[in-house]
Amino acid sequence: MAAIIKNGEIVDDRWLRLTTEQIEADGLPADGPILVPLPVWLAQREALLARGEVAVWLAPGEEPEALVEDLDRLPLIAIDFPVFRDGRGYSYARELRTRFGYHGELRAIGDVLRDQLFYLSRVGFNAFAVREDRNLEDALKGLKDFSVTYQGDTQDPRPIYRR
């Protein structure tokens, strides 16, 4: 079973991430928690919910507003970074936490690397599926790059002048 970083610890990951192509080719697995793309979720919401544990991942360009009605039903939302340089997911995460009030697991997936982890955690990600060729112990260090921040973030929205 793959491991991820969640709430500052290395834990096993139960979720199976599926792409639209995989689902079209092989259908859905019989059981087990699955992480499906937004278009699949929007097309098959009721069937997926009836099936059991399901979560949704967003690609760049797919804004979290599309999930506003479903937030209570989703234990996990993942945001994909196909390349770490595409920073749209940072804004999506922040909106999910601060505007839409999402409290479940928010997971960064894709090209997730140690040197982005600190920023990712500050915009609201609490879970990180670090790229497979990277060491998770090493990546954990990235969460502690700084102890000082000028701006507020999703854990403490107060900027330094209000703390």
């Binding site: 804004s91 000082v148 507020g152 929205p157």
Partner: protein, 553 residues
């Protein structure tokens, strides 16, 4: 000047440690070139033609004398004995070794300096008017607002991986714009309404390959909302900016593509969620920041036009000439702001050596409360000089070569490093600048010509701001050979205008003669008291075209 607190220093120390570790991992092969690239760029480190280039942040151009000395020390110890003042008020080193950069950053941190976000696709150094806080005609000192923006932008987690670089400038003078707010991604113009401070916010300006003047997005943003409003714009840009094509990724393209009204509507929508939230500025915070920029202890007995100055001016024509160009008015009676032109013929515009940095530090200590500034015209400023000390200062500047009396005249050329250093260049800039300086060496003639902005870029990235020069020179590549295209009529003032292309480009050895012909035409056509740009705007480009190309036909 903003004084670092313990937390600012802590932040820098942690940054140095982080970058040291990143550099070590890169050198050990644990980070690929592609992964290291944005990390090093966000620390101002380019890999250039001969060596890396390190860009050190000079927030809104302010430097203390110990910081100047530290820059001199870096030039001496880790570089080839000089540094370069950039058109964004930063200081660049052209020859550091990659392995040394962590040590350089650690050393910079000892004087509260860094290279954070001086490059890369993030929010860059905030810039402003180099006479901020001393110009008599500004509404208020813009620097506290710059510092507030700087802190918000530094390691802002949401905006570290933007589609493209992002530059913010602040200006507080109503009819003058030394900060160039019109050609920044965001321009913040301080305005007063009913006695309250607010901001007119422009977005979508910039130079580079698609030069544009910004559009007004926020007509009046109340001061407590400044950061929320900036954040709203940045979020819209982060979400909708083009990421497929680097050349279409700047906010100016987004504003253009959506149309300014649609862009404004998106901004307003984001802003509605942020307004009144925790990032709202407090009066305490603003007054704390203002406290750092309080006026220095000016001498109460200093008076305008003191006898010591007027007598010296009467006695010395060279001093008079310098006084006319390089000395600017000051809001405080008895004081003046002095521009040190780094534009001596034979020296690349903006270059300054290690010993000269030390010397400027000494002068700052003795004449200007220990502070100096960098300018976007690649000069330096001592902003708080007593008028009765101007003759003595002038003599020292003369000896150092900083008193070239050409501030804002034709030979005060703004030029990027071009093909001599930059791997993106199509053509050289520095030799062109030098040839022009030699041609226009006659000071009487130069002064007679009056203000004339001449800017040179080695390629269309426009680092030398050629689009906003009254005369702009752009290096272009034609079948592997260096050519130069000339633009006319650009303005980097409150009537911001992008220059117009004169016509086909010229070979390197033609450029100086062509410029001389354009200048001759101006001299023939000008009305009394009319500057180059005014004559150009009155007569239009056609006569200049005829004069430039006439001999070829």
């Amino acid at each position: 000047m903003y004084l670092y607190q313990d937390y600012d220093r802590q932040l820098l120390a942690e940054r140095v440690a982080q970058f040291r570790d990143q550099t070590e991992r890169y050198l050990a092969g644990q980070l690929s070139d592609e992964e290291f690239l944005p990390l090093r760029l966000q620390n101002g480190l380019y890999i250039q033609r001969y060596a890396p280039m390190l860009r050190v942040a000079v927030p809104y151009g302010m430097l203390g004398s110990r910081q100047l000395r530290a820059l001199g020390h870096i030039a001496r110890t880790w570089d080839k004995g000089y540094a370069h003042v950039s058109t964004r008020q930063n200081v660049q080193f052209n020859w550091p070794a990659l392995e040394d950069v962590p040590d350089i950053l650690a050393f910079l941190a000892t004087v509260d300096m860094h290279a954070i976000q001086t490059s890369g696709n993030c929010i860059r150094n905030v810039t402003t008017d180099e006479f901020a806080g001393v110009a008599g005609d500004e509404l208020e000192d813009p620097r506290p607002w710059c510092e507030i923006i700087r802190q918000w932008a530094t390691f802002n987690p949401e905006f570290a991986y933007l589609p493209r670089k992002f530059k913010i400038a602040v200006n507080a003078v109503p009819d003058q714009d030394l900060a160039l707010v019109g050609v920044h991604d965001i321009g913040v113009q301080i305005v007063h309404r009913d006695g309250e401070t607010g901001f007119q916010v422009l977005a979508g300006g910039g130079l580079g390959r698609t030069p544009m003047v910004g559009e007004v997005i926020g007509e009046f943003v109340a001061w407590p909302d400044l950061l929320a409003y900036l954040e709203a714009i940045l979020r819209v840009y982060n979400k909708y900016g083009n990421r497929d094509n680097k050349y279409k990724a700047r906010i100016k393209i987004l504003v253009k593509a959506l149309g300014v009204d649609a862009f404004r509507a998106l901004t307003e929508k984001e802003f509605a969620h942020l307004q009144g939230g925790p990032m709202t500025l407090t009066a305490e915070e603003v007054s704390r920041m203002r406290g750092y920029f309080s006026r220095p202890p000016y001498a109460a007995d200093a008076t305008d036009q003191p006898a010591a100055l007027t007598a010296a001016l009467d006695a010395d024509a060279a001093l008079r000439r310098w006084y006319r160009t390089n000395v600017s008015a000051h809001g405080q009676p008895g004081y003046a702001a002095v521009t040190l032109t780094l534009k001596k013929t034979g020296r690349a515009p903006g270059d300054i050596t290690d010993t000269e940095l030390d010397a400027v530090a000494d002068l700052a200590d003795r004449y200007s409360f220990g502070e100096a500034r960098t300018t976007h015209q690649q000069n330096m400023v001592l902003a708080d000089v007593r008028q009765d000390q101007l003759p003595a200062l002038w003599q020292e500047l003369e000896a150092l070569g900083f008193a070239t009396p050409n501030f804002r005249l034709l030979t005060d050329i703004v030029a990027c490093p071009g093909g001599d250093f930059c791997s993106l260049a199509n053509a050289k800039s520095i030799p062109v600048a030098e040839a022009l300086q030699r041609r226009f060496e006659d000071l009487d003639y130069l002064h007679d010509l009056g203000p004339l902005d001449l800017n040179i870029s080695g390629c269309m990235n426009a680092c030398g701001h050629h689009h906003i020069g009254h005369i702009g020179i752009l290096g272009v590549d034609k079948k592997g050979r260096e050519y130069y295209q000339i633009t006319l009529g650009g303005r980097g003032d409150s009537h911001c205008v992008i220059g117009e292309k004169l016509g086909p480009s010229f070979e390197a050895d033609e450029v100086v003669d062509v410029i001389a012909r354009l200048v001759d035409l101006y001299v023939e056509q000008r009305h009394p008291g009319e500057g180059f740009i005014d004559t150009y705007e009155r007569v239009g480009i056609e006569p200049f075209k005829e004069r430039a190309y006439g001999s070829h036909h």
